[in-house]
Each structure stands twice: as C-alpha cells, then as structure tokens.
Amino acid sequence: ATPANLAISDTTAANYLAQYGYLPPTNPENSAFLSSERLTAAIEEFQAFAGINITGELNEETAKLMATPRCGVKDKVGPAADGRSKR
C-alpha cells in the first residue's frame, strides 16, 4: 500500500542521503553546516542515480523512492564516490 502522506522532512531526507552515500555522515557537530545548496545537490544526485526527474526538490516521486525498501549498501562507493580519488 502506498502511504497516504509522502511528505518527507529535510532532516529525514538528509539522514537518508547520508546513509546511502550522497552526503557525508552527519553528526551533531557538523549537521548545522549542511547548506540548502548541498542538500539540493545531494537530492539531484540521488534523483539522477535513481533515474527519476531531477528537480532537486523533495517531491512525491523522490519521497516515494526514499520509502522503498532497499539494500543497505551505499550507492556511492568506489572510485566515483569521492572527487579526490585518483581517477
């Protein structure tokens, strides 16, 4: 069944994006420094990876996907995950 209300808060989304490799891990000391631009960029990256419309917004399509059961391994691992990697 699809949840009636698919709204998702910035905090929930940020936690999700951090858990799956789109944002650096959050902790009480650095979470305050997450800018809206960085969150938008992470949402866009998630949307691009998932193959849904890239809006940078936490729309219903994005929220629905974030609520879908999934594998716990990060989406962004390996050489492409880190701009500082050798490639």
Partner: protein, 392 residues
C-alpha cells in the same frame, strides 16, 4: 554498472549460513541461497560451495535484527533489507530478520531476489543506476521469471571473465591457441596507430591509415593488413577513434563525424555529426573507450577527457571535461585507447601504458611503462623490449 574496486583472487568460493531466518524451513533456505549464488556462477567460472560447522569460509551469511556487531544496525521491517561487504572487507552478507522473508511468493520480501543482489556486493559489484539491473539498489519484488540484466552480466564478467567451463564436459578445455605471430613490416616500422577497438566477438582491431589488422595474443594475425574499406565499406581512412559499446554496436569517429556499425554492416544513415549523436563531446577526438570500471564511454582529446553516459540527461555532466592527468600516469595527447583482458591500454606514438582499472593508476610492472607497442602488441622481435622514454 559500477565496480567497487576489489574482487576475489580465487574463483572457487565457499560460504555458510551461520544464522538462519526465523520462520523458514532451513533446507528451503539452503536451496534459495544456492540458487542466488548460481545467478553469478551461471555467467562466470565462479563456483560456490556450501560449508557448515566451524569451517572457515569466504562468505558468511547471517540473519540478524537490530545491532548485530558490525556497527550498521538493521532498522526493522521495511527500509534496509540487507547489506553485504565487498571482497576487500570480507564478503559477508547480513539480512534483516525483522523482514518477512518468503520463498516463491509475491508476499513478504523475496529471499532469492535480495540474496542474489547481496551476493553481487560480496563479489565486488556496487549499485548500478540501470533500473532493470539486479544491482539497482531498490527492492523490486518477486519475479518468477528472473534473469540477470545484461548490465549485471557485463559487471560480473568485467571482474571474473566470461564463463568457459560448462560443467564436467567442459572441464579441462582450453582456448584455441593463437596462430604463430607474424611480423608486420608496416607496424614494426611505425607502430603509431590511429585507433584500436574490440569487436563484439572479442577480436582486437588496429586501424592505421587506410589499413586494419587483427591482433592475436602474440602479435598480428596472418592475412593482415586489409583495407578498412574492404570490410567497413563506407568508412574513410585515418579514423580518429573507435569503440564497441555494450549494445554490440561499433562506433567510429573522424573529424566532426561518426559512423555506427553492427559487425561490418552500417547501422542506419551515417555519417552523422558528433555534436548531434554525442552531445557534449568535441570534434576531432584522439581516442575513445568503454571503461571497465563503470561501463561508461570515455573520450580523450589533448589534455582533457569527457565521460559520456547515454542513459543520463545530459549524457556529459557539467563537471566535464576533466584533465587526463586525473588518470594517474597517463600522458596527454594519446592516439588510441582500448580495453584488453580487464585493463585499459593507452597508446601514444610508439609506446603504450597499461592502466589498472582496479588500482586506478598505471601498473607497476617490470619492465615499467611506457613500453614498446611494436614489441608487446605487434610481435616485432627487433623492437625494444624494455621501458621507453616518455614523450615530453
């Protein structure tokens, strides 16, 4: 697809279920787990042998709830279903026992589907952004007609090669030996090439001027060179670059134009403008190849490279081009690039470099790179076997 960067050195792997799910018959679980492994052994020479008791194994499988000792606790029903560790971290697979695991049922969470995905991680595969791939991160439900997506097959074969052993009758067979290498006067005299690519049948082809050669493991196949126009009738000479994509089609580039072929038959109305078919890629490229690390197309020109992903919009992201020096050890102004036996090779003038797609740098080897293309690729015995002086 995407590769994490590690893989098993052996193809004969062992596993054990040290903690079974609650509510399912153990023998049925064993069968489903074996079936999930067979997804990967069906496309490679990997084998998976179940063990029990206290034997050490490569991949340990556990069904756990909440915190279970690895610092990555499960979250109850829904959400995260399972996770697995890449080979470099041990390969173990953990499943959230809070889920309602089911077998051959549309209800609950299908064990086979999730296990086959997790074992992909255990073997070195990361998540794919191809929706139809098993290695896509989102749960897709039970599929009684499940087959691996070509993206998954390409990924696992990039790590472990294609399947050559089809059971007892196939055991002990070896690939056909290459015919004796012949020295080619044209390539030995001037080994600088225009383009190199692999056909969809796995042959490695060299283009130079108006001729082409097929390479063997030792040098050049007999019966070459041939005229490019004798096989690819519409193609001009002096091609800039070529590659075969995972759709089996071969693309040739020259100047502002490109051509697409299936084997030696042109696949439509060509040539077309590079700016139309490969938006974001410049004209007059130096080289192109499909990188084994992620299956995406890379174009090289001068000091820069571009990544092209046909499945993305736009196919070239805004952070490209990037500098070739990001490919550690590879020089600017390459003439050709090709994937061969799991490595990416870059050619410049009379020399080549072997780039290790797993360590992300030019291989450290003896003799060191750059090496002579004439000696190591074209079988020219009189050429220099050692390290060449890099171009400055």
């Amino acid at each position: 697809y995407a590769l994490q960067g590690s893989r098993w050195r052996t193809k004969n792997l062992t596993y054990k279920l040290s903690k079974y799910p609650t509510g399912l018959n153990k023998q049925e679980v064993d069968k489903e787990i074996a079936k999930a492994f067979s997804v990967w052994s069906g496309e490679t020479d990997l084998t998976f042998t179940p063990k029990s008791g206290y034997e050490n194994v490569h991949i340990e499988i556990r069904f756990e709830v909440g915190e279970h000792g690895d610092g990555d606790p499960f979250d109850g029903p829904g959400g995260t279903l399972a996770h697995a560790y890449f080979p470099v971290y041990g390969g173990d697979a953990h499943f959230d026992d809070s889920e309602r695991w089911t077998i051959r049922s549309y209800r609950g969470t299908n064990l086979f589907q999730v296990a086959a995905h997790e074992f992909g991680h255990s073997l070195g595969l990361s998540h794919s952004d191809i929706k139809s791939a098993l290695m896509a991160p989102f749960y897709r439900g039970y599929d009684p007609y499940f087959t691996l997506d070509q993206d998954d097959i390409d990924a696992i074969q990039a790590l472990y090669g294609k399947k050559t052993n089809y059971g007892p009758r196939g055991q002990g067979t070896t690939s056909r030996p290459s015919p004796p290498a012949e020295e080619d006067p044209e390539l030995c005299k001037d080994p600088k090439v225009d383009a190199m690519f692999n056909t969809k049948d796995g042959d490695t082809i060299v283009f130079k001027g108006k001729h082409y050669w097929k390479l063997t493991d030792n040098g050049v196949a007999s019966g070459y060179p041939r005229r490019i126009s004798s096989t690819w009738k519409e193609l001009p000479s002096n091609i800039d670059a070529a590659f075969t994509y995972r759709n089996g089609k071969t693309y040739f580039f020259k100047g502002t134009q490109y051509w697409r072929y299936i084997n030696s038959t042109m696949d439509g109305d060509y040539p077309k403008e590079i700016s139309d078919g490969f938006t974001g890629i410049p004209d007059h490229i130096d080289a192109a190849t499909v990188w084994t690390g992620n299956g995406k197309i890379y174009f090289y020109k001068g000091t820069k490279f571009w990544r092209f992903d046909p499945a993305s919009k736009p196919p070239v992201r805004s952070n490209y081009p990037k500098l070739i020096k990001n490919w550690q050890g590879i020089p600017d102004h390459v003439n050709a690039a090709v994937t061969y036996k799991g490595y990416t090779y870059f050619f410049q003038d009379n020399a080549y470099y072997r780039f290790n797609d797993r360590t992300f740098s030019v291989d450290v080897a003896e003799p060191a790179f750059p090496r002579s293309t004439a000696y190591w690729w074209f079988g020219c015995k009189s050429a220099n076997r050692g390290t060449l002086e890099p171009r400055r």
